[in-house]
């Protein structure tokens, strides 16, 4: 479904991503793990169009999406969440989801002028759909509240809901466990599995190996900008390169 081919990215003289190659199959939960600073978020920024790669290609369902603008990539069917949550805090939960859905409708000047006359039915359908999306992450009861009133864990779920609203095929989830306690993390992983069971493919970044081992079917390991291993969770767990990346070469009692 998503093929990352030889992606390289330099910042100044520093090579942050070095010839990254991997493929995500449709319907799976793919985990990308690696220590902090390994280049994980840079990789997401490139896939979602916020950064351009120095070299390489990204193929999504046989279409080359390398270097497209972020909204075009959203339109192609890839949405994402951020490590530092970026919901619209001044808006209600429902409005957050609606803004995500509006891409599906045109923003032409004419539509603006005639918006007031638009059939109520259409607006109602949109709202019902937004409720459905909120109920996937079990937030529909709070639909009318301002997003800033949510707990940290709930804000993450709302961001997931907004990502769902753009009708993606692939969702990139950036370090969902960051800043959450173990109970919240576990709950959120449950949500991600539930979302995945609704035919959404998910790619998850995480630096904490334990978080992803349980839910990912395949895992890629990024270290200093290079993909050092790929495979099932069990294979990754026992891979000497991975153990070295995480624990260091000299095990001085750490």
């Amino acid at each position: 479904m998503l093929r990352v081919e030889n992606i390289t990215r330099d910042f100044g003289g520093l090579r942050v991503l070095d010839d990254v190659i991997f493929e995500i199959e449709e319907g799976t939960i793919y985990g990308i793990i690696g220590p902090n600073g390994a280049g994980k978020t840079t990789l997401f920024n490139i896939i979602s169009g916020l950064l351009k790669p120095t070299g390489g290609r990204i193929i999504f369902n046989t279409i080359d999406i390398t270097g497209l603008k972020p909204h075009a990539i959203t339109a192609a069917g890839i949405s994402r969440t951020f490590q530092n949550i970026r919901i619209f805090k001044e808006m209600t939960l429902l409005e957050n989801v609606l803004v995500g859905m509006h891409r599906l409708f045109s923003y032409s000047a004419v539509s603006m002028l005639f918006e007031l006359k638009k059939k109520r039915r259409e607006e109602k359908e949109l709202r019902e759909k937004a409720y459905d999306i909120l109920s996937i992450v079990r937030l529909s009861e709070k639909a009318g509240l301002k997003a800033e009133s949510l707990s940290y864990g709930e804000q993450r779920k709302l961001e997931l809901a907004r990502a769902l609203a753009t009708e993606p095929k692939l969702i990139l989830v950036d370090e969902p466990a960051a800043g959450m306690n173990p109970a919240e993390t576990e709950e959120l992983m449950g949500e991600i599995v539930r979302i995945n069971s609704r035919k959404y493919t998910i790619c998850l970044i995480e630096h904490d190996m334990k978080v992803v081992m349980g839910i990912c079917r395949r895992i890629g390991v990024l270290n200093f900008g290079k993909f050092i291993a790929q495979g099932s969770p069990d294979e990754i767990k026992n891979n000497p390169l991975v153990i070295e990346a995480y624990l260091g070469r000299d095990e001085t009692g750490a």
Partner: protein, 293 residues
């Protein structure tokens, strides 16, 4: 007497609110202060005046023409002065300077055409009738001003909260990059914000011209200062704050004229604003400054 002053203050404050609501929206969405908003106000007043005297139109068509003219000026301002700087990512100060330049150019052109004298709307443009509510005299003019201002402001609030474009504007105001990622056409939202905010400024120009029964090419300066005070008082970028701030300033001015002295009008009202800001530095509805991610 006191209640009578309140009625006068309401008419004055409503227009300040109307002017400030667009001013603060531009700041909230585009993160710039456009110092041409006073000139836009003046253009709106003259467009309304021209429509009334040259074409003999009534107040509603005059308002519509004024809003169209000032909205167009807002669009041009964005196109020539703000957008090129936005593209180069000079976000805050450069557009402010650029809009000072534009304001000067616009004002000079109008002085070339209209000179420095004061103009008046035609006699009985708004019928000269009085209404009395429980001892308070309200002229039809005051009622018209209050009514028009509040209808426009309610329309703005409805637009921002209930429509798709309104939600897009609010989303961009909070985080333009996330908005862009979700497919909101951020550039068009900016243009649209300039147009609608400027048209509100223009409507305020017509209403001010009616209220004081005079319009002139320098009228943009004083309102600009008040507008800045109002949006800071209300909390930068906050629509409700701009409405409340405009009314507070209107009341402060009218009451200081009535009970102290007209010489001290600005000193008293701006002194009051300063006091409020000492207590609430981020404005009435302002939030603590929070960095956008």
């Amino acid at each position: 007497m006191f209640y009578q002053q309140l009625a006068n203050a309401l008419a004055l404050g409503a227009v300040y609110s109307l002017f400030a609501i667009g001013f603060t929206l531009i700041f909230g969405v585009m993160e710039i202060i456009t110092l041409a908003h006073g000139a836009v106000f003046m253009v709106g007043a003259f467009a309304g005046y021209t429509a009334a005297t040259k074409f003999g139109l009534g107040i509603i068509p005059c308002l519509i023409i004024s809003m169209a003219a000032s909205g167009f000026i807002g669009f041009v301002l964005d196109l020539v002065a703000i957008r090129p700087l936005r593209k180069k990512k000079f976000h805050h100060l450069a557009p402010m300077i650029a809009t000072i330049g534009c304001a000067t150019i616009i004002t000079s052109i109008y002085q070339g055409i209209f000179g420095a004298e004061a103009y008046r709307f035609p006699f009985d443009f708004v019928p000269n009738e009085n209404y009395e509510f429980r001892g308070i005299q309200l002229t039809q003019l005051q009622l018209t001003i209050i009514f028009t201002s509040f209808i426009l402001m309610i329309m703005m609030i409805f637009f921002l909260n209930k429509t798709k474009w309104g939600k897009a504007v609010r989303a961009v105001a909070e985080n333009s990059r996330t908005g862009a990622l979700l497919g909101i056409p951020v550039e068009r939202v900016y243009q649209f914000t300039m147009i609608i905010s400027s048209s509100f400024g223009g409507a305020a120009g017509v209403l001010t011209g009616l209220n004081f029964n005079t319009i002139h090419t320098f009228m943009g300066g004083p309102i600009l200062h008040r507008g800045i005070a109002v949006i800071i008082l209300g909390g930068m970028g906050d629509i409700r704050g701009a409405m409340a701030g405009g009314l507070i300033l209107g009341f402060a001015e009218v009451l200081s004229v009535a009970y102290i002295s007209s010489d001290f009008r600005d000193a008293v009202s701006f002194g009051l604003l300063f006091l409020i800001l000492l207590i609430r530095p981020s404005g009435i509805f302002g939030k603590k400054i929070e960095r956008k991610g």
